[in-house]
Symmetry: C2
Subunit: 344 residues, 2 copies
């Protein structure tokens, strides 16, 4: 099950630092010093070494370096789905923040499965990453705290205090309140909620925000208008079909994320229900594509890209030993064409 060694082939032999040293007529130590700018070296030797590096086309071996230094210049990133549009933005942010630090992100996916998440984290740790970013997921807090004893760790999607650990949580509750309030302000009373999975902290918070906004507006929350699904398009579609089949009247939908909002919107469409004329739809996340669907989707902006940047920067700070704090921006409602005042 493991990949065996490469063929003993005619591939060009590996150029080592020692060969560079020999052709430049200096010691390996000197070459290392030049490579790492870790000590001053006479101009003559420096020139000779640089020439040798060029001539031999030398490329330092990061493994050997890491082994010797006890540091790899890599950070582990646990995402949940490598193709998720939301986490994809976060990854972009991480990549960008890391760009000039010389560090490289090692990205692995946990698929929202505890087993996979643990396995992948272990894998990253055995590669001796300098730090870890955990994008949400389903690891219990205690495990995260334990991992944080091994390596600096930043986790998103939850509140958690601990040594060597920073957490970054978006205010899902407030975001959901804002979305729901927006619909209420437009005159909607019967607002359905396409919720996320019950075992996701964010779903629960969003559901709570939805509920409390209703209550505070004097609207009795109706559990029959809430359908839990999986944060994906098909789920949103099925949810709406279910609601329609149950003949529960509603004039607006608040979906717990944009992907399920897309599914919901399609379900409405195929029932001949127009958005926003007949029913308003509001999503959550504000994916890049949400500005380009028809009609453009009103959504709570979750700053995924910034979240990635903040997480990465904070982690680098922690690795440096600087005590850091980063904070996520407040929720913001982006109003587009998918929501409009209730016709009466």
């Amino acid at each position: 099950m493991t990949i065996p060694r490469p063929l003993p082939s005619e591939l060009p032999e590996n150029i080592t630092l020692e060969m560079v040293a020999r052709t430049a007529g200096v010691s390996p130590a000197t070459v290392s010093r030049i490579l790492n700018r870790s000590a001053r070296v006479s101009e003559r030797k420096r020139a000779a070494v640089e020439a040798a590096i060029k001539a031999l086309n030398y490329r330092p071996n990061a493994l050997a370096r890491g082994l010797a230094q006890g540091r790899t210049n890599s950070i582990g990133v646990l995402t949940q789905d490598i193709a998720s549009p939301f986490y994809g933005e976060a990854l972009r942010g991480i990549e960008n923040a890391l760009k000039d630090t010389g560090a490289i992100p090692l990205i692995v996916s946990g698929h929202w499965l505890l087993r996979d998440e643990v396995e992948r984290l272990e894998h990253l740790l055995s590669r001796r990453v300098d730090g870890l970013i955990v994008l949400t997921g389903s690891l219990p807090d205690e495990m995260l705290l334990r991992y944080a004893t091994e390596v600096p760790l930043v986790v998103t999607g939850r509140d958690l205090e601990g040594p060597n650990l920073m957490s970054l949580r978006f205010d899902d509750y407030l975001g959901a309140r804002m979305a729901t309030q927006h619909l209420i302000d437009l005159g909607h009373q019967r607002i359905a909620h396409v919720a996320g999975p019950l075992d996701h902290f964010d779903s629960i918070e969003r559901l709570r925000g939805y509920r409390e906004a209703l209550v505070d507006a004097g609207i009795e929350p109706d559990d029959d208008l809430v359908v839990h699904t999986d944060f994906h398009e098909p789920g949103g579609l099925l949810a709406i079909n279910q609601l329609i089949a149950a003949r529960k009247p509603f004039t607006a939908v608040f979906a717990a994320n944009d992907q399920s909002a897309f599914g919901a919107r399609l379900a409405l469409h195929s029932h001949g229900i127009r958005v926003p004329e007949d029913i308003s739809v509001v999503g959550f996340d504000d994916l890049p594509v949400s500005n380009y669907v028809v009609p453009p989707l009103t959504s709570v902006k979750q700053p995924a890209y910034e979240m990635g940047e903040i997480a990465a920067r904070a982690l680098v700070g922690m690795i440096h030993g600087e005590p850091v704090k980063g904070h996520l921006p407040q929720p913001e409602l982006i109003v587009r064409a998918s929501s409009r005042p209730l016709r009466r």
Copy 2:
């Protein structure tokens, strides 16, 4: 600019294989043999070692292993944009194919910039990846051939023969022909094309397919109906706005990828033009989300996921030293609601 060593802190000391050996009362060699199943070991020692591993919570150091073995069980993947929905699917395929090989993909992004691509590849090579998957990009063929002398390489999006190298190309030309032919079959004659960048091989091929389908159907291609853009939503939107501003009549749009089709569709919408009633739209790629936009998008299915799987499997084969050939499925047109017969 580089990340300095971790703080000299109270973190639990690193457990090494040697410590395992000592507590189990065996030699390091024996522990290694057990870890790698590389030789048979008596039951007693095996049990002792396994107990020690558990007790100490030992986690092998992948760097040391890689250094000693000359192999890292990691493969480098150069994508272009970590958040691209299309390449995201390919990454999923790669991840999946690699899952049980023990190898891990190191994913880096080239952003369609030669400079970034080279820099990232060098980075991967200095980490001594066992192989390389290059998802399209803008590296000249010669460079790829040169990289292939260092490490097995699979490249997508082009035809290239060479030792230690495999290329995987989708038939963009045929796909574009099929899309265009579909519109022609529906009675459309004035078919606009939202093309991709002129310096992308795939765009050129798709443009060619579009053109030749028209010619073969006896329709004179009209260059004024072709607008080049960047494969993204805003580009598609602008392209259609431009076409409409130029008052060039058309009854159908073939977009060179789904993302620009989304933009195009929104532009039509905001001009009060209905899809498919007034104008048919066909995309290319068949992104997962294309089945959930309104109306669901007719599109040429590009098997991104499978492409990733095939590439990864082929690469693993090459690393094993097996001469492999993989092949991409033929283009397939997925007809959905965004295209319909021309009203006359």
